[in-house]
Structure formats: C-alpha cells, structure tokens
Amino acid sequence: MANRPTLLNSCARASSAAEARFRIDGGPRTPRSVRVVALDAAAADVVRPLTGRRWHDTRFLTYVGPAGADRTDTVLESGDGTPVRLDDELAGADLLVMVAVGVDGAPAVPAFGDACARHGVPTAGVVIGACRAAVSALRPFAQVLLVTADTGDLSALLRAVGA
C-alpha cells in the first residue's frame, strides 16, 4: 500500500473545479413528504397562499382540536375542509412543520410532539412574529424553531428541505 501511486483523483487536490466535473450526477434530489400545520387562524392565513403552489408530497393542514374519547389523537382540517386525523397524516411523513402566529394553538403542541415521537417524524416550528407564548410552547417539541417576521421564510424552509 505504501507504494500505491497517488493520482490526482485519489488525493484532496481533487476538489478543483476541473475535477468537480467528474462528480456523479445523482439526478433529482429526493423529495420529502411534509405536513404543515397552522396552529391558529392567523397562521392559517400565512399558510393558505402556499397551498396553490407546486410541492412534491406536502399537505397543508389546520389544527381543529383534540379527538377520541381519551383525546389522544388530534383533528386537523385539510385545505378543502375535510377533517383528517394527525396519526393518519404522520404515517409516512418525513417532517412536521408547526406554524404559529398567536397562542391559540399552543395547548395542542405537546400532542403534536408526542405523536411525532411515536411515528419517528422530525418536528420544526415556525413562529411568525414574536409571540412569546407560542415560542415557549413550541420550544420543547420543535427540533428547530424559526422565529421570524418574514412570512416568506416558511416557503423558503419548505423548498430548502425538499417539500
């Protein structure tokens, strides 16, 4: 091994622009299945304009309330007003993004966190504005929490992660 010849492509110098041409073109990136949940009415207003855009496998939902006799599941509403269950939505999802403007949906956040933990789905939170109660509610359950005044950050996040 000690006498193995060092070719350009077998050393760190292969990071040149010329050698970059030989990087394998992996084709399209892997799309991800994302669920975006508006936790309150103002958040729903932020999310609504995104529903008309082209996404891979992304569904936009609005939080309605707890469900089931033991209130262990959560009812959501899809874009066309159809009620759906959180557990069903998380099956096969790659990411849940919780969006809040105000504090109305804060009590539901632990249920989202627990459901995601059961399904092994990563969580993200986006707080539009700076509602302290919303930030506090999301903090324990959102692996990443983006606090921003810019509503465009939500779509930027979704595009960046392949939604």
């Binding site: 760190a12 050698e19 990087r23 692996q143 930027a156 960046a160």
Partner: protein, 428 residues
C-alpha cells in the same frame, strides 16, 4: 437546495455582481497589521472580491490599497521600491502614492503635468485593532469604522490570525452558522484542546448529540441558539451570532477566550479566514497565546513564511488514519480549523447547492442564505443599506448559558449578547 441562479448570486462577489456590491458596502479585513509592520516596508499583494490590489504603508506611515498593476505597461507594482512618499514601479520608474495618484513619470520632460492625470484605482486602508480594513465601495463616504469587540480590547487581550481557504466564502461561512457539526467533526477537540478542555459545557455537548435549534433575527443578522439537555430539566444553550455579511462568533467554553471568524472572499474559489480570540476582561495567558500560535482552538499552523495552512489539500491535510481509528480525531485531521477547512474544501471550489439535501435543523443556513439574497437584491434594486453596516450591529458576543426550560435565550441573554467593555462574558 438552491437554484443555480441563486447559488450564483450568493457565491459570486466580483465587481458588478449583486453579492459583490453587498460586500462593497462594508469595511472588510484586507490583511493583518503585522503584514505591513513599519513605515516604508515592502508592499503586499492582496486579492479581495476578485480585484488584484497592492497594500502599501508609505514612508510617512500612511496606508493605501491600490491597483496592483502600473498604469504604464501593466507591470506588478509588487516589484516596486517603497520610496519616500510613494511606490515606484520597478519597470520604468513611475511613482504612485497611497491614494493611487501618479507622482512622477520619469520619461516626461520637466514641467510636464501628465502624471497629474494618471490615477490608479485605490481604496482606503485603515488599521483598527490588529487588522487593516478596507472599503471597496464606490468613492465617497464609507460607513463608520468597525467596532467588533475583539478590535477594541487592549492588544494583550486579543490574538488574531488568518489563513487561506481554498473554496468559496459562503460554504466556509455556512460552517460557522452550522453548529450541529461540532459534536461530530470536532468531538476530540472538546476533550483535548487546551483552549476548551475541562469546561462544563463540554459535558453537555458530549451527552446530547441531537441538539435542538432556535433561529431568531437580530438587527445585524441572526442569532442561532443550540440547546442541549442540562441537569434538572434545564437547557444548556450555545448562542452564535452572525453579523452580515460574514462575521460569526462561536460560543465560549468556561473562562477561555471568546473566539470568532470573519470570512472574506479572495475570489469566487478562495477566501481568507480571519480568526480572532480575545478575553473581554483580562490579558490572554502566555499558555493561551502559545496554544493559539501552535494552531489550537480555531487557529492553525502554517507553511513557513506564508498564510497557507501547514495541513492543506496538497498533503491530504496530513490525515492520520491511526488517530482516527483510535478515536483521537473523528476525521483523522488534526485541529478545529483544518477539520473545517478539509471538509469544506472537499465540497469543491463552489459547492453545487442544487444537489444538497438539507434537513430542518439546517434552518440557520437556510435563513442566512435568504437574508443574504434579500439584502443583496434590496441593495441592487433599491439601494437599501444592508444590516451589519451600522457599527452598533458589531457590538455582539456569543454566549453559553444554562436556562430554565421556559426561558427564552433571546430575552434572558440580551445583556450577555451585548459587548459591553470591561464586563465578563457569559460562559459555562
């Protein structure tokens, strides 16, 4: 993922580019003050934002940054003589002052005024702290001088170094925003580096490899908080400020010095990495200063006589597979600076961001790019002054603290994240 167009917008910094014009609104580090150590010393070639320049300290102690090439036939002025009052080209003796003004054209007859009409492009060069800063914007009124704390403390409290990194500035900066790599790539350094070892925060880092992140806007850029579990249900927060366009500070450990980096594009495929360590209230110890000279912390060792790292792409960064196998270095590359440089340079001179697969914990990077695009296009389209120009935005510190779970790091650490002269930093 970015489109090719957005990637180009973010990574191209030459004259006339949107990001180049953004950089030209700021004072940026051009070189270390030690590179022009005395009046009348040899000039230094400098390339910044894809412009080839020469830095001069004339016989009167005036600094200047001028076009590298003589207006006559285009010879490099680096070969010139730094004479009384100006730099004289070695080829035909044309002489220029630090403002680029031609003072003499020896071939012209006595009384000729030809030289008064010859002026090289020139930029201001000012010494603030241990750095010579320049403003490559249009002539006129540059912004107020930088006020980062590391250049305002007494010199015995600071250590500054620089190194050449062979890749685009943005992928290097993104490494400074992305603190989730620390527990992997730099894991051994937290244990062994004399500038970090023994800090309580290291234990929190080691015990929780899946930090949660919080990304919040600040006046000058962003605050990125990484939180890990501490005792009794509390959280250990490491807070990294980013000030536009390319300043970050890593959170401190124990009473060790604060540290940070400013990345400066040389051209689109190379950048300077200006590293600083400082302590707000005490002189650096001899041991700390020696450790920095030895390449510990965020500093590095050099190819003698250069600012090129001793470990570089030509020697595979002196990769040590045995050390990697023994767990002494996660990547087999020694030192935090070169661990970062090796992986960032391996991405290629300008990484193709159309092929990346970001995850939600890359939100800091996503937000950084978006803020840069927004600032660059607002400047291009409306002339809007970008964040980070105002020196008030420079007076920031990183912090490492333990908080109750209901506490916001932004509110609880508001004072800790402000650089107030003579006050200690907040660190665990």
């Amino acid at each position: 993922m970015l489109s090719t167009a957005t990637n180009d917008l973010l990574t191209r910094t030459g004259p006339g580019t949107a990001m180049g014009e953004l950089f030209r609104r700021y004072w940026i580090p051009a070189l270390l003050a030690e590179e022009l150590p005395e009046d009348g010393c040899p000039p230094v070639r400098v390339k910044l934002l894809s412009e080839r320049l020469i830095a001069v300290r004339d016989s009167e102690g005036r600094y200047g940054l001028i076009d590298e090439f003589c207006a006559h036939r285009g010879a490099s002025l680096w070969f010139g003589n730094n004479e009384v009052g100006g730099l004289r080209c070695a080829y035909h003796g044309w002489k220029f002052d630090v403002t680029g003004q031609c003072l003499e054209v020896p071939s012209e007859p006595d009384g000729s005024r030809f030289c008064s009409r010859i002026k090289l492009t020139a930029y201001p060069l000012v010494k603030v702290g241990g750095i010579l800063w320049t403003h490559l914007g249009a002539p006129g009124q540059p912004p107020a001088w930088p006020e980062y704390e590391f250049i305002t403390v007494p010199s015995e409290q600071a250590y500054i170094s620089k190194r050449w990194q062979e890749c685009n500035w943005l992928q290097a900066l993104e490494g400074g925003i992305d603190s989730s790599h620390v527990a992997w790539l730099h894991s051994a350094a937290l244990r062994d580096d004399p500038l970090y070892q023994g800090a309580k925060g290291n234990d929190y880092n080691a015990a929780d490899l899946r930090p949660f992140f919080e990304v919040v806007d600040s006046d000058g850029g962003l605050l990125v908080g990484a939180r890990r579990n501490a005792e009794n249900g509390r959280y250990y927060w490491r807070i990294t400020p980013w000030v536009m366009p390319s300043f970050t500070m890593a959170p401190p450990r124990g009473d060790y010095p604060l540290q940070g980096i400013i990345w400066v594009p040389i051209d689109d495929e190379n950048c300077w990495v200006f590293n600083f360590s400082y302590h707000p209230v005490r002189a650096l110890t001899a041991a700390e200063r020696q450790a920095m000279r030895d390449g510990m912390g965020i500093h590095n060792r050099y190819v003698p006589g250069t600012y090129r790292p001793l470990q570089n792409k030509d020697n595979d960064y002196l990769m040590d597979r045995a050390a990697q196998k023994r767990g002494e270095s996660f990547s087999g590359v020694w030192g935090i600076a070169m661990q970062d440089a090796s992986v960032q340079e391996s991405m290629g001179p300008i990484v193709d961001r159309t092929k990346e697969h970001l995850v939600s914990t890359d939100a800091g990077i996503i937000r950084t790019r978006r803020k840069l695009v927004k600032a660059a296009t607002a400047l291009r389209d409306n002339g809007t002054t970008p964040p980070g120009v105002d020196p008030a935005h420079h007076r920031v510190r990183s912090a490492a603290v333990v908080l109750r779970p209901d506490e916001s790091f932004v509110e609880s650490c508001r004072e800790a994240m402000m650089a107030v002269p003579g006050t200690p930093h907040s660190s665990v």
